[in-house]
Amino acid sequence: MAKLNINGKLVDVDVDGSTPLLWVLREQLGMTGTKYSCGIGLCGSCTVHIDGAAARSCIIPVASLKATQEITTIEGLSPDGSHPLQQAWQELDVPQCGYCQPGMIMSAAALLNDNPDPSDAVIDASITNICRCGTYNRVRHGIHLAVDISKRGRS
């Protein structure tokens, strides 16, 4: 049994403690926005936030998580798909197949939590998600556009 704080809600899951967070999200909680692709914490498709920082959920056993840690998934990034990144992604038609995009957006959102206006060099160093469709240039453009959208929102 594990108690988790997911998207602002405390949930109890009855599962072996070695089960990765990814599979608890997908199979115990039915939240399939977070994707399986490599299973070794490499490609980033399974990226969620733990206390605002990007984490690769496919290699995090639920037993290692505490109920005090705030987990955010793509489903909880915004209530209505209106996060500046989601707006920017829609504006630029970033996704192709879309499978890696929840992870890509969560990685980018964690980056913006950390650095509200990242340079290209910072983006290069921070976004290590794999996209086989090749959306990288629109991802980069989308991060910069999201920064603009955030600034406009504040002004």
Binding site: D16, E27, L42, Y99, R132, C133, G134
Partner: protein, 730 residues
Amino acid sequence: MNKEHVNISRREFLISTTTVGAGFALGLYLPLSSSVALAVGEASSAVPEVNAWVVIEPDDTVIIRIARSEMGQGTLTGLAQLVVEELECDWSKVKTEYPTPGQSLARKRIWGSFSTGGSQGIRGSHEYVRKGGAVAREMLIDAAAQNWGVPKGECSVMASVITHKPTGRTTTYGKVAAAAAEMVPPFEVELKDPKDWKIIGKPVKRLDTMDKLTGKQVFGADLQLPGMLNASIKACPVFGGKLGSFDAAKVRKLPGVRAVVAVEDNAVAVIADTWWQAKTALDVLPVTWNKGPNAKVSSALIAQMLDDGLTAKEAFVGNEAGDAKTALKGAVKKVEAIYAYPYQNHATMEPMNATALWNKDRCEVWCPTQNGEAALEAAAKAAGLPASQCEVYKIHLGGGFGRRGAFHDFVTQAVAIAKQMPGTPIKLLWTREEDMQHGHYHPITKAKMLGGLDDEGNLLGLHIRISGQSILASVNPKWMKNGVDMFTFQGMLPKGDHAISYAVPNLLIEHAMRNPPVPPGFWRGVNINQNAIYMECFIDELAHAAGKDPLEFRRKLMARHPKNLAVLNAVAERAGWSKPAPKGVHRGLSVCKAFASYVAACAEVSVDDKGHLKIHRIVAATDPGHAVNPQQIEAQVEGSFVFGLSALLYGECTIKGGSVEQQNFNTYPSMLIAEMPKVEVIVMPSGGFWGGIGEPTIAVAAPAVLNAIFAATGKRIRQFPLKNTNLRSA
């Protein structure tokens, strides 16, 4: 015309169940009740279709039926644009849906081919989908005119509103759709002149973006059905090997495990409440394999087979002009080089999967597929039932790249598993490791290139001997002619969609077929990936041997290829070929015709003292004839570069002990955002033909970069991927 109402609701029901899925007590076995089955079969809407392509709801929502699969390439939106162009409906109210392969079968393939490969989605169906839209438009106007009791010729239509011009009366598509469904379709319709197109050619937004940003988009791997169990599979790692034995008792009591089953004659699967339980149980299941004769196959052995083909007497001829061998003998200067291209895995981000429900008289499959009809055929065969008693529901693909078109091994397996648990839907999901080891790989080839120049540096003769694997010999021998696989000559053929870009007076291009026991497949771009490297890098070698500028050398051979020349000139001009590149930056060119489109690229790279490559910029031009959605073409060009350059930089599947050595993205890496060059796309449709988009530009990325590396270093790299070579000490 058949006006039978099509029930598309089942797919919608299933998509909606995934939201409900959050509430399921997973791990609890819920057999499909008859009430669920009924609900699944219910129609979502009482509105009859106007015709096979168009359904219009009373609120003017237009549903366009799309037979081809969307896997990221934008075909869904592009095909909708084609229908809507003729339908004259309001674009802002357009939705799409997939008809099922079973419905297609029942309606004598009214939607044509479902196959989504070979960059055919739009170019293979543009005419009949536009006609579908035009016919529906005529029926809608007919219905309005009849309702008003006026001649049809007095009515006009724009953005779903029909107007009776003399009186100014108006109505909308939604109001007359039901009556339109009863109209007799016109026998013939005239399609618009391209100059009158309003939505074809416009960079409209994709129709399928929003759900991909919120996690709502359901991919095959995400599907949840009531009472569904999950399966993890392991097939014999040696190609052609068989399942020996397994000790089910060792895992049968692990949490959630329901069954351990043999799958066909070469695999074993664990079925459990959750996939994670199935996977972890399979990890510890004792299994033995009968590896068979291929256990000794290695990359070294395969290289020997291919080397033999480079000099073998017998070879198929794919293109011949003049007398290349004699011309080469008389050449003042001869150039010779051997190139090689390794196996590649498709490595779609979403691993292979399918969900199957088998009963003795019916089998249903839900899967991401590039070809619904082929999936249905595979399902029926595995189910032991006629196709009319089977159905396939296409679920969104997390990438295709050719892996999910010609091959439905994952469907066959899912059905074989479900058959052992009748009445229970079972989702089979491969691990990444299984996906890496059981691909249908980009074929392996080598090429021996021989070129001869006269004393003025003109190309007298060119002899190319390709040695290596045929895709068709393994996948579809029926498409071969007299034992020849013409696909192996893509980009080098005398004419057609993959014609050579140059007029060489004495030319001989041959293929010595050598088929190692590693299953080949169609991989985005197929054989242009290596053929364009062979051709375009060697043309560059010849230009340098002749002491000529690579652009001028090419131009001289392209007088009879104006469209190829036009794209090449476009990239040269945009990149500033005639002016020096920034300090330390070097340029390379390439050009190709592939999938009926003309494409060219100019790459700018630098290589530092340690041999580290930086690709700064690639200018790419494409002439696809008609450009349906320019912003999606740009996305495809950029994406194709990532696919092609990932292979060039990192991609290789090596064989040891009859198995693929690479297991995951740690040993089969892909480009990351940090390595992505700036890409400038020139879309230059010249009209009059329909070329492909998803694949052609993949051809020009790698050779342009390689030619730029030569310009930077003076080194020719002829073995790939580049990660195996230091670019400075090579």
